[in-house]
């Protein structure tokens, strides 16, 4: 017996907002990682899931047309960021992965402590987003 095609209107409308909320939360987690629980890994996972709910609510083709990113490349770029931070400190004659920090006055945020470890974390973030989405989308695209 063939079921009639269910209507996903509720889900699709709601997901548009939920995805943005999850994305905002992921950025928060990513930036919180400096002194609190959080960081690149969990932030990346949240970003991946914020994109994933879009794929769930809509379908592969629609989202592929909207988000034209090759997530495999993310892995390469992310690893480059992560190792690059380590190497740069090496080029200046310090030990590998030595990190530096300073406090800056930014226009909106006020006094902010910025570190080079943030760049490393950004690399981790990109790797996690790339790897998680590559795995999930590959499995989903698999022909039966």
């Amino acid at each position: 017996m063939k079921w009639p095609r269910p209507n996903n209107m509720m889900l699709q409308v709601a997901i548009r907002f939920i995805s943005l909320i999850i994305f905002a939360f992921s950025i928060y987690l990513f930036l919180a990682g400096h002194n609190n629980p959080g960081g690149g890994f969990i932030g990346g996972l949240m970003t991946a899931s914020s994109l994933l709910v879009l794929y769930l609510a809509f379908d592969m083709k629609t989202i592929k047309d909207v988000i034209r990113l090759n997530f495999t490349v993310f892995i390469g770029i992310g690893l480059l960021f992560a190792v690059g931070t380590g190497i740069i400190s090496m080029l200046f004659g310090y030990q590998f992965l030595k990190h530096f920090f300073d406090t800056f006055q930014l226009p909106i945020f006020g006094e902010v402590e910025l570190t080079t470890a943030l760049l490393f974390d950004l690399g981790v973030y990109l790797v996690v987003v790339g790897a998680a989405l590559t795995i999930i989308l590959n499995i989903a695209e698999d022909e039966k």
Binding site: T72, I75, G76, L79, L80, G86, Q95, F96, L97, K98
Partner: protein, 496 residues
């Protein structure tokens, strides 16, 4: 502080990830991965001389002082293994250029290969137990993909077993690390050594060390090698060769490092246990190697025998025996890669792995046949080839330490190696030539150079072993005197 130590990890990692971005450009991938491995090999040569001159090299990542940050440290032992493994990997890469199909090459083969090397180098270099686990995972994850690359039915079946076994052993590894951390409160290898020496190696620590031994012996193919023959016979030749040459050796390195740097107080328990396992491994491996009639099976069981023999030297735990182990380890990496490559070429030519279906290759491929013969002699330990000095020293060491049975089984295993490999030689190369050149399933074009290079290497190491002796002596010295390693890691800072 010496940032040279970081380069063996960084160079292959960086190249591997850059190659992910250039998936389609095979020629670029080949050149880049070749250059990366040449680079790491040069770095290892530099490291070797630096260590010879000024002792163990250590670097603290991110400048956090020793027990708090992550330490990378190489002593002579790991530097020798690094150099050998990278030379072998480089030669296997040459073999890969001519033997792999374009499809496999395009599925990120070179990136994965370089990540595998990253993991291997990292495990040899790291001075932190948890980091050792991490680098094990790096090389294992790369190897999961390499086992199943190409996606044949047999590969997928074996890959599943391989993944399950390794995930299980990795989780046991984590348990062992957690126990050790809760007992000693540290994971830095040097600091662990200090703490264990201070409190004495009581029954609890010995039990944890045995758990660690079980985990590492699954990876090294020591006694718990039931998964090894299947998974090493599934992937393409060059990948199987790299696995046989490097992966089990990383496990062996782990065992030797753990039981010489940290758990060296209760040798009559732990090292005797290792000795018994090594003896059982050699017997079972020998039986397997002489019983099967399938080239790949015979070769994989030979890997197992090699692992048993190297650890017999650790069980004896005397300077001669460890010297022998290190010599044999270097020899084993080179000759196992060589024997797998030759076996792969034979299978490639005849299109079968069954010994009874092949015969008389020596008429059409004399060079290949004689190089295989040289390899057999080297593996059996005939002078002046590379296996000889290792065998003599290990056997002497076991006799001196009173483990007569272990030495005897080692010699027996050599005879079994000789028998099993001669069986391949007699069946595949000797006898009636049933395949003419036109009927062969493949060509040896481009495949002979790497094989010849490795053969030359076994001969050179055998003849000029004298040159290696001071290096190996230094390696044994740092293994038997943990304070050298500890001193270098802490570099004068107070030990908390």
């Amino acid at each position: 502080m010496n940032n040279l130590v970081v380069l063996p990890i960084v160079i292959p990692l960086l190249t591997g990830m850059l190659l992910i971005l250039f998936k389609q450009y095979i020629q670029l991938q080949r050149t880049a991965s070749f250059l990366a491995l040449v680079g790491t090999t040069l770095v290892h040569c530099l490291l070797l001389f630096e260590i010879k001159q000024s002792g163990v090299q250590a670097v603290q990542m991110g400048s956090w002082p020793a027990p708090f940050g992550i330490t990378l440290a190489t002593d002579m032992f790991s530097a020798l293994l690094l150099l050998t493994s990278n030379v072998v990997a480089l030669i296997c890469l040459l073999f890969a250029f001519h033997s792999l199909s374009a499809e496999i090459e395009e599925t990120y083969f070179y990136s994965l290969f370089l990540f595998l090397i990253t993991g291997v180098n990292g495990s040899f270099i790291t001075g932190d137990l948890f980091n050792l686990y991490v680098f094990f995972e790096v090389l294992l994850i790369a190897s999961y993909v390499l086992v199943s690359i190409g996606g044949k039915k047999k590969q997928l079946r074996e890959a599943m077993k391989y993944v399950v076994i390794n995930v299980l052993s990795s989780s046991l590894f984590l348990f062992a690390i957690a126990y050790l951390y809760s007992i000693t409160g540290t994971l830095n290898l040097a600091h662990l050594s200090v703490r264990v020496a201070q409190t004495g190696q009581d029954a609890l620590i010995t039990a944890v060390s045995l758990l660690l031994l079980i985990v590492l012996s699954i990876k090294a193919g020591l006694f718990l090698f039931f998964w090894l023959p299947g998974s090493y016979s599934a992937p393409p030749t060059v990948i199987a060769a790299v696995f046989a040459a490097l992966l089990t050796k990383v496990g062996i390195y782990g065992i030797i490092r753990m039981f010489s740097l940290i758990f060296y107080h209760e040798t009559h328990v732990t090292h005797l246990f290792i000795g018994i396992l090594a003896a059982l491994t050699m017997i079972l491996g020998g039986l397997g190697a002489s019983g099967y009639g399938d080239i790949k099976k015979i070769l994989t069981y030979n890997v197992v025998i090699g692992a048993g023999f190297i650890l017999a030297g650790l069980a004896a735990f005397s300077p001669e025996a460890l010297n022998g182990s290190i010599f044999y380890l270097i020899h084993d990496m080179i000759s196992k890669a060589l024997v797998f490559l030759i076996g792969g070429i034979v299978i490639h030519l005849t299109g079968t792995t069954k010994l009874e279906d092949m015969s008389g290759l020596i008429r059409t491929h004399p060079a290949l046949g004689w190089m295989f013969f040289i390899t057999i002699l080297a593996l059996a330990g005939i002078p002046p080839l590379s296996g000889f000095i290792g065998k003599v020293l290990v056997t002497e060491g076991t006799f001196v330490s009173g483990y007569y049975w272990l030495g005897a089984i080692g010699l027996l295993a050599s005879i079994m190696i000789l028998y099993s490999l001669l069986k391949i030689f007699m069946n595949a190369f000797w006898g009636e030539t049933i395949l003419s050149v036109e009927e062969e399933k493949g060509t040896t074009k481009g495949l002979m150079l790497p094989v010849a290079l490795l053969t030359t290497l076994t001969i050179v190491i055998g003849i000029f072993a004298q040159v290696l002796v001071p290096y190996v002596d230094l390696a044994t010295y740092s293994l038997l005197n943990p304070e050298v390693y500890i001193e270098a890691v802490f570099s004068g800072n107070p030990i908390p």
